[in-house]
Amino acid sequence: MSAALATAEPLVRLADVHTYYAKSHILDGISLHVGRGEVVGLLGRNGVGKSTTLKTIMGLVRPSSGSVQFDGREIGGSAPDRLARLGIGYVPEDRRIFRLLTVMENLRTGLDRRGVTENRKQALLAKVFEYFPVLGERRGQAGGTLSGGEQQMLAIARAMMLEPKIILLDEPTEGLMPRMVSQIGAIIDVLRHDGVAVLLVEQNVPLTLASCARVYIIEKGAVRHHAASSELGANDEVIRQYLGV
């Protein structure tokens, strides 16, 4: 493996994690890591456990065995609100913005944390409105009235309000028009530029290979392949095997 895959002091590390939904064995010994400021992709078909991996990191699902570490400390089974305050941002599949709250109120839920000065809040808001001008335009509108693409932007902006060390992005291009896909790519670049690590779950192979330094390919709850994106092309045999038909 190239130097790009060196694992000194990763920000997030999963080691042999097993997770169940009732009796369903969703994660079957999954191991992966994300370095500080790194953008890493998780590819795989439906139902292989990609979303569950993110949920396990976010504390929404409790692992039954294995180790989940964030910033050097064991976080398996910790409460999600504590993890959010520690610096993990979560953007779920289907966005889940607060539909009855305005755009501004949605952002406020991440902004009203302890120890954040009013100035820093204003600066964060200004930054987010610069990156997502349409959110600024619609700041007084209820979240549920936004289009799918706008809701996706709001979901990401909301997570950015936490000033997280890593953002977990679950299928951000799902259900979006093709021209929005490049916008998502641009947003991921911005996050990397700001030093925020990203763990990206996707089924869109070109976007993932373009945005991520490394990709893991998941099948049946475990990692089947791991490579630097530079070593993989979209038509690689491995990609076809695990994602194609």
Binding site: M58, L60, A79, P80, D81, A84, R85, Y90, P92, R96, I97, F98, R99, L100, L101, E105, R108, T109, G110, D112, R113, R158, L162
Partner: protein, 290 residues
Amino acid sequence: MQGLLDLILIQTVNGIVTGMILALVASGLTLIFGIMDVVNFAHGELFMLGAYLGVVVLATTGSFWLALLFATLIVALLGAALQIVTLRPLIGRDPLTTILATFGVSLVLQNYALWQFGPVARKIGEPITSHFTLFYLEYPWYRIAIAALSAGIIGSLWLFLKYGRYGIWIRATIQDRVMAQAMGIPVPWVYTAVFAIGAGMAAASGVLFGPLVGVNHAMGLDWILKAFIVVVVGGMGNLGGSILASIFVSLMEAYASIWVSPAQAVIASFVVLILTLLFRPTGLFVPTPK
């Protein structure tokens, strides 16, 4: 004919007054259900405890307003303690367990009150004793004051939810408790706070209503039944709906008692409940679900 019209207008005023107190009790109940799926069977006892505390503080300080303030605060704290001790351990379990837990709490509180204060009803003196002439009646100003105060308290709650920093936390948690947690909102504490608010509002209603009836250990029972009817008719978890439903149901009862005795007029509430469940089970004042 003139007599009937006057009677209807008087009953309208009465209905609104009763409706506002009921709204104060019911909004706490519906808020608690809406945010944490808990049916609080102890709500009537919190109302009752508020009234008794009002009696005690009034006797000690001689001020009705201090009684209102302290009863509200103390019962709010008690509510928080109750939630932490009996309900927090049950989060995520079968809702039946929380029903049993709150029912158990209600039994404990009722019997505590009976043991502490005895079976004889106490009285809270009205803070405002003047009357004004409403048609042919000498109508007490106090009743108007109750309605205004209740409206004020509910209005403050609404403002807090809409504009307060923690109000946003509460509204976010009501909509999506999982994502609220993922945004760093300490949801277990939000639950405690909402329970405390609901308890405090019930206590305030108890003190406000105290002068109109006797304060005794069983006074919660009547009110909790009406409050549940109102919560269902208004739409469970729907704050605005429960307020409208409170006034609606109270008006129905007030009008009904023009022709039948008040005890029989209660049937009007049940009729409204049954019709709601038959035709608009999600609530009369809730937009029809698609």
